[in-house]
Amino acid sequence: MNKNIILDIKNLKASIENKAILKDLNLKVKKKEVHVIMGPNGSGKSTLSKILAGHPSYEINAGEILFDSQNLLEMTPEVRSHEGLFLAFQYPIEIPGVTNYDFLKLAYNEKQKYKKLPELDPLEFMLITDELLKKLKMKSEFLNRDLNQGFSGGEKKRNEILQMLLLNPKLVILDEIDSGLDVDAIKIICDGILNNISNETSLIIITHYPRILNYLKPDFVHIMIDGKIIKTGNMELVNLLEEKGYDIFIN
């Protein structure tokens, strides 16, 4: 077993309500690597990210997933999180009445508990969040607002990155983190990721747009069509895709 492999997906088949979505998918991600998955709408990219995070609506029909050499499919969603898997949501969920601060503190302390580390009191926790807020150029009043409620698209995505940095994961899946953002917002988010992420962390980027790849330079580019990765390459593949579209891969 290669200790250097953080994620190993083997022959994965998955469905929702008896509709097959992932059809024999294979993917290996090593530590520190940056992978990009591109594919037309409905090819199963977001499904893959949800399955990795343990969404209860999907059924695994075949295959296995090893996360840091452990069987990922046996873990509950919260254990996956504690073990270092982080999914930045395409559409972060709004939770009325729960402040961002209370939410972040609970999430952080749950991980501490899981790792058998001391929980932080409000003051200690404040010190950590203050620093992260500065790094992401966010105002501290951001913490007092209800979680994602009434946040702009950019704020929601930045809040995802804030959570990511706070939980310091081993593997980050960015599900269309760039959708609906302007150039400046994309840059802030990418800088936030690049400058602060631990150098051990691996990235899986799901996107439709090559722009984000100018910042987050991928080691591998995968083309996913109809529940399978049908082609793997480097940035040249992206350029080819830009030029010719998905048709050349389908044929």
Partner: protein, 485 residues
Amino acid sequence: MNEQKIKINSEINQTVNQPYKYGFITEIETENFPNGLNEEIITLIHQKKEEPKFMLDFRLKAYKKWKEMKTPEWANLEIKNISYQDIIYYSVPKKKEKLNSLEEVDPEILKTFEKLGISLDEQKKLSNVAVDAVFDSISIATTYKEKLGKSGVIFCSISDAIKFYPKLIQKFLGTVVSSGDNFFASLNSAVFSDGSFCYIPQNVKCPLELSTYFRINDKDSGQFERTLIIAEKNSTVNYLEGCTAPQFSENQLHAAIVELIAFDNAKIKYSTVQNWYSGNENGVGGIYNFVTKRGLCIGKDSNISWTQVETGSSITWKYPSCILMGNNSSGEFYSVALTNNYQQADTGTKMIHIGENSKSKIISKGISCGFSKNAYRGLVKIASNALYSRNFSQCDSFLVGNSSQASTYPYLDVWNSTSIIEHEAKISKVSEEQLFYLMQRGINVDQAISLLISGFCKEVFTMLPMEFATEADKLLALKLEGTVG
């Protein structure tokens, strides 16, 4: 359903229904009257309590009215027939006839209150709360009497008030909730055994938060307590009420009355955390909670505010209301009602606007889990003289699981054209996506639901006194454990 889902469900089922923490029984001897209700029993209660004559008339008049009445059937509740002749209407812990100080209280009862987290021992009291504790039918002890006395505040059991302040009682008892008001109010008026009395003189801001703790211990006895609070001109008082009962497989009856009166510029804030035994997971046992609570804002610029967190009882039938008589008077109702298993709640408020420029605000949050039924029922009435009055109502329901029910019955009755009424209502469900999002961040199912619910209730919890808010939050978390299917 896939494995992950089954796993979550089974985890949930394991944690469903933490045992009711307050279900223990205190082994003490009690002096009980025979079961049943008739004029003799009422006279006996009257004699036992050494009341002045006018109280016997009051009780008998109420009894006569009650005999003519029928149980109300308009609520969205399924109520088993209650056999009123099987209930014991007076139950007293047997010991000394009169209790002068804490030393004379049966140590078993004191232990019970300690288990419930209420220490009557004034020395140990850290918080600024004066407590009146009612055990079955009688008031056991009232703490801080002296300190209150210095500012002129009277805080004692209603029995003592009847004996020592008969003029106040005769003047005010039954003026807000008359002895013929409704079936349960008449029953209470006939047989009420104890409760609290509180009088705040003019220009006094009550130096302590006043608190009553109700406990039903005896299996067959009903609890019929009565609370009367009078706030004179320019006075202010905060009042807290808590309730628990042991676990029995029979249903027990609780029919209380609370009357509040606020004169010019007076302010009464009444908060309740109700956690009577709610029956088991199959709906067996639990308290029938039929309560009439009403406040009269008689003076101009007066204010009455009700805050309630209702988590217990097998049936709750309760509509804390405000009659806004004074010009510029205002009433508020903040409510969280949580039902689980087979609990039923039909609760809400009535805001009766009579004075000009009177204002009312209603924030109601209903949470239904399991197979429970949870209804909000509220009336906003604006009389023709209540010019320029305003009401704002917000009634939100939250459904947990697939078998619970939530209903909202708003009644609006407006008789002038200068007033403004706003009503907002929404119904929401625990969404799989919200849970998934929270769980992805390392928060387990139970905590995630607690977090969602406490967010849902936030507007009401912020109205509770600090300690109560923490208690309410914990109580909800406990009640909610494993409620998602």
